[in-house]
């Protein structure tokens, strides 16, 4: 054996520097589309004419996808996360008082801080305050049905509302939506943008809902069902449901791995 190893052809391999993990490019983890509903899901009839048929064009995340709008407390009002009070005219809305709380996380399990969460729902009778909703259940004069919150440093959010009712809709002649709350979440980059719906543990309409069952993966469907969380309830006041939301993970970030100015 020679005492001295020959120089390697690639000069980078001769460097005495320790190996360090490569800088993340800041791109989001590839979306696992198998846990999302397909665009074309014929059991949900509205999707038939509104579903693209060409393959999506896969795009490596550029700065356009890694960035996204930033929101702050200045965007919100003090009652925005209290649906029992934010539209009250002469009393509280009718219905079961509930607290909904949870964390917005990413796929690595980290909380997503300071991100905007918006939510909307029908009232306790299953009627939306919307000029296009004509269901016979009455509008509740004290209930608007929407709110929003900013997650805290750990990704935690919470709001107070009344439990929404189920309602019929035109898909099959006897299709009913399970009780649900719509959620809109931003994350830190526009590629994390997500709209979903939260359902309630034990609702018998869940397995027969043509919208919920567009989700092909049983576990993914179950993750949309919020369990009753008695520990978080407010005795003699409100029950609580827990709903965590997971956004796409990110291949490290500039902030952590790059020193300022690089």
């Amino acid at each position: 054996m020679n005492a001295q190893a020959p120089a390697l052809r690639d000069p980078r391999l001769n460097r005495p520097e320790p190996f360090t993990p490569p800088l993340g490019d800041g791109g989001f983890f590839q979306r696992d589309r198998s846990i999302h509903p397909p665009a074309h899901a014929p059991g949900y009839k509205s999707s038939v004419l509104r579903s693209p048929r060409q393959a999506l064009l896969s795009l490596e995340n550029s700065i356009s996808e890694i960035t996204g709008p930033v929101f702050g407390h200045n965007d919100l009002g003090p009652l925005d996360n209290d649906l029992i009070r934010n539209y009250a005219k002469d009393g509280d809305p009718v219905g079961e008082r509930i607290i909904v709380h949870g964390r917005v996380l990413d796929e690595t399990g980290r909380g997503v801080p300071n991100t905007l969460v918006e939510f909307w729902q029908a009232n306790a009778g299953g009627r939306y305050r919307h000029k296009k909703d004509t269901y016979l259940a009455p509008i509740d004069p004290n209930f608007g049905g929407c709110g929003r919150a900013l997650t805290d440093d750990s990704g935690y959010y919470y709001f107070r509302t009344v439990k929404p009712g189920p309602y019929p809709w035109r898909n099959y002649v006897n299709s009913w939506r399970p009780a649900h709350i719509h959620f809109s979440v931003f994350g830190s980059g526009f590629a994390q943008r997500l709209i979903t719906q939260m359902y309630f543990e034990g609702d018998p309409l869940i397995p027969v809902c043509p919208i919920l069952t567009t989700i092909p993966d049983k576990d993914a469907l179950d993750r949309l069902v919020a369990p009753l969380d008695l520990n978080a309830s407010s005795p003699f006041d409100s029950l609580a449901y827990r709903f965590d939301i997971v956004l796409r993970g990110q291949r490290s970030t500039y902030f952590e791995n790059r020193t300022e100015g690089n």
Partner: protein
């Protein structure tokens, strides 16, 4: 069994439904609730850059405009910089210009409009020049997971021809589905677009 990888799974998407306005644009649902509201006007009097109106429709597989669709746009400012901490490019940052807006389509005509500025060209992290563009996200009843697309500008022919994303589109004819057409109307600059969800002119949608 190997060690488990403890990644979480993304929460599944669900349609925004026909009443998306309640949560995101309550005034369109017919009521006033929040002190502060988001809108389709991105500009303030101080915003730098060329004022433009974006005007378009989203068509279903029969060519009928969706009248319950909601669009969000996300764009750089006139210097080509996004208002986000991850964008460290050299362009001037404008704290007042968030670069984001949302709009519901008109319940009768299906028309969607935004008042904004034309974004500057962007240099991506590989150092390539990208043509000015606006990122678009489409949700509605019947759309199970939000659709991502982009709008480019018809008067940027040279930049568009060199754009790395437009050039990823195999069929040149499909690139045209992302180009908004410039016109002038009563002294205002209008860029018109059509998003076709299906059919021979189907818009290019991205898996971002």
């Amino acid at each position: 069994m190997p060690q488990p990888l403890n990644y979480l799974k993304e929460t599944a998407s669900q349609t925004a439904g026909p009443y998306v306005h309640i949560g995101l644009i309550p005034a369109m649902a017919g009521f006033d609730i929040f002190e502060k509201n988001f809108s389709n006007v991105l500009v303030t009097p101080n915003t730098a850059g060329q004022r433009i109106t974006l005007e378009g429709k989203v068509l279903d597989g029969t060519g009928t405009p969706l009248r319950d669709v909601l669009l969000e746009i996300w764009q750089a400012n006139a210097s080509g910089r996004y208002n986000h901490p991850a964008d460290r490019s050299a362009g001037a940052l404008e704290p007042e210009f968030r670069g984001w807006g949302r709009a519901g389509s008109d319940f009768e005509s299906g028309l969607v409009t935004f008042e904004t500025i034309k974004p500057g060209a962007i240099t991506d992290r590989a150092g390539r020049k990208c043509a000015p563009h606006i990122n678009v996200w489409v949700v509605a009843r019947g759309i199970n997971i939000g659709l991502n697309t982009r709008l480019y500008f018809s008067d940027e022919e040279a930049a568009n021809a060199a754009d790395p994303v437009l050039n990823l589109i195999e069929q040149p004819t499909r690139r045209k589905t992302l180009i908004a057409t410039r016109s002038e109307r009563a002294g205002k600059i209008v860029y018109s677009f059509t998003i076709n969800l299906q059919g021979p002119e189907e818009t290019v949608f991205f898996d971002v």
